[in-house]
């Protein structure tokens, strides 16, 4: 049973086949967010703090931290934001940069066991990112593309994922610490994008036995009512074997659709998380019962 352990100084999150689906909050990312980018560049992190707290309150078990701002000192900002977010919340983080220097700066200040986001299957990238992952004993997201680009053939992407897992092993990194991103393409441009990912996820889980993640919202690029597509897509990928995703937990209905998928995939034992989250708070006890479970008692 594959389990990837990610942690902060005080909290551990397990991504695994027998675990609830892990939502990694995507909001702390200036790409496409002009205001956030401008503020982060000036060292104003109020919005970062608000986004971090709101995502955790909404149910994110982890947060992704990206500081990819044009013409800014990305490694320095990334490190500062990681330190800041770790001081206000205890969820583990994914350190997200396409710059190796950014990843290293983030890892150097991170407390706990981080998720490095990401390496691709490009040789040059692998040889720079994997030693860092090993050095800091982190886990790593492996994107299934290589020097030849993003293949539309899921079997090609499987082979790239396999190559990354092997290369990681060469660096002393266990397969359970490689989380493969099968690459979600926009369904509006490629009609088989959904089916390709479901198929690839099954292969990754059954043959390569790795955990998986993705930027889920890419599926709905260019379509109206993107939440409607995303909220259907997530339970479908969970059913096909995906164990985590980078999402916006503040989007309406998203957390409920993932929690429902946990119930249906049998990773919410006795449906207890679902019941806790959905019990009618206004239900009137008749007075004859005890008025609900108290919990907390342990058998001695």
């Amino acid at each position: 049973m594959t389990r990837t352990v990610i942690s902060s100084a005080s909290k551990e999150v397990v991504i695994g086949f027998d675990q609830p689906f892990v939502m990694i909050g995507e909001r702390i990312n200036p790409t496409g967010r002009k205001l956030l980018a401008a503020e982060m560049k000036e060292g104003n992190y109020e919005r970062v703090i608000a986004d971090a707290l709101a995502q955790v309150a909404a149910g994110a078990q982890m947060l992704d931290i990206n500081a990819g701002i044009p013409l800014a000192d990305e490694p320095a900002i990334l490190a500062e934001v990681i330190r800041l977010v770790q001081s206000i919340t205890d969820v583990p983080l994914a350190i997200d940069s396409s710059m190796v220097a950014g990843l290293e700066a983030g890892l150097a200040v991170y407390q706990g066991r981080a998720l490095v986001n990401s390496t691709t299957g490009e040789d040059e990238v692998l040889e720079r990112v994997l030693p860092l992952v090993k050095k800091y004993d982190a886990a790593v997201v492996a994107i299934s593309n290589d020097d030849s680009g993003i293949s539309e053939n899921p079997d090609d992407r499987f082979e790239i994922a396999k190559k990354i897992v092997q290369r990681a092993a060469d660096h002393g990194i266990k397969a359970c610490d490689v989380i493969v991103d099968p690459l979600v393409m926009p369904i509006g441009a490629i009609n088989s994008a959904g089916r390709d990912v479901f198929y690839l996820l099954r292969r990754l889980r059954e043959e390569l036995k790795v955990n998986t993640t993705c930027g889920a919202s890419n599926i709905s690029f260019g379509l109206p009512n993107r939440h409607g597509i995303n909220n259907a897509f997530l339970p479908m990928v969970a059913a096909a074997g995906m164990t985590s995703a980078i999402v916006n937990p503040l989007h309406e209905g998203l957390v409920a659709s993932i929690k429902a998928a946990d119930v249906l995939n049998g990773v919410d034992p006795s449906c207890m998380a679902w019941i806790r989250a959905n019990r009618d708070p206004n239900a009137e006890p008749s007075g004859e019962g005890r008025g609900g479970r108290r919990g907390g008692r342990r058998r001695g």
Binding site: G68, P70, S98, G149, I150, G188, A189, G222
Partner: protein
């Protein structure tokens, strides 16, 4: 498959036919757009006039509604397919008559180190719809690829795309090289990609920043003096 609403394209006047073709193009009806193109050619229309008045004009309307959120990516892809079906008939004629009906060539490519091309392809498609002949260099292009394409095709505009903060500075490298060779004076350069902004485009000396595919097509037309 005929009912009362069926339109017999050949029965329409030239003006009505062109309007119908624009509607059909908007609805992504490739066979109908192709048939309309054939009819106009048979009636003695110049290929360049069909291109500009029916196809490019039709795509211009598509671009506006795409920009405004009325049309969505899969629909625009169908519109582009419909335009292409007409264009296939016109291209050989345009080439053989040496008519400069196109707005010129637009060389486009994702920069070195970057393999993302969905956005770039969308831009290329809108540019084709806007009347450019698009030369697509694909992904992962070092500066030499751009230089060779500029040399070979003498484009009216060069476009570069990047999705990563690590690869977008390479656009600046290309622009610098163009400047050094004196090409930049006469060649407008457009840049785009998710992490970019106007400030970055200005900093590297790009002529225009294309926020999205529809805007890029409008800007490119403006660059070659085709302002609507």
């Amino acid at each position: 498959m005929s009912d009362e609403n069926d339109v017999i394209l050949d029965d329409l006047s030239d003006e009505d036919l062109v309007d119908q073709m624009k509607d059909d193009l908007y609805d992504g009806m490739a066979a109908e757009v192709r048939e309309g193109t054939q009819i106009l050619l048979r009636r003695g229309w110049e290929a360049g006039d069909i291109l500009s008045q029916a196809l490019v004009e039709g795509m211009r309307i598509v671009g506006i509604d795409f920009r405004d959120g009325t049309l969505f990516v899969p629909e625009v892809l169908q519109c582009a397919g419909a335009m292409k079906s007409g264009m296939e008939l016109l291209r050989p004629i345009l080439a053989s008559t040496g008519s400069r009906a196109s707005l010129g060539k637009f060389v486009i490519g994702t920069v070195k180190g970057d393999i993302h091309d969905i956005g770039k392809n969308l831009v290329g498609m809108m540019l084709e719809g806007a009347g450019f002949e698009v030369i697509d260099l694909g992904i992962n292009n070092p500066v030499d690829n751009y230089l060779a394409a500029i040399d070979q095709h003498q484009p009216a505009v060069l476009g570069m795309s990047a999705l990563l903060t690590t690869t977008m500075p390479y656009m600046g490298v290309v622009i610098e090289e163009l400047d050094k060779r004196g090409i930049l004076k006469s060649l407008p350069v457009m840049v785009g990609g998710a992490p970019l902004n106007q400030e970055f485009a200005d900093a590297i000396g790009a002529t225009k920043y294309g926020r999205d595919a529809a805007v890029s097509a409008e800007l490119a037309r403006a660059l070659v003096g085709q302002n609507h």
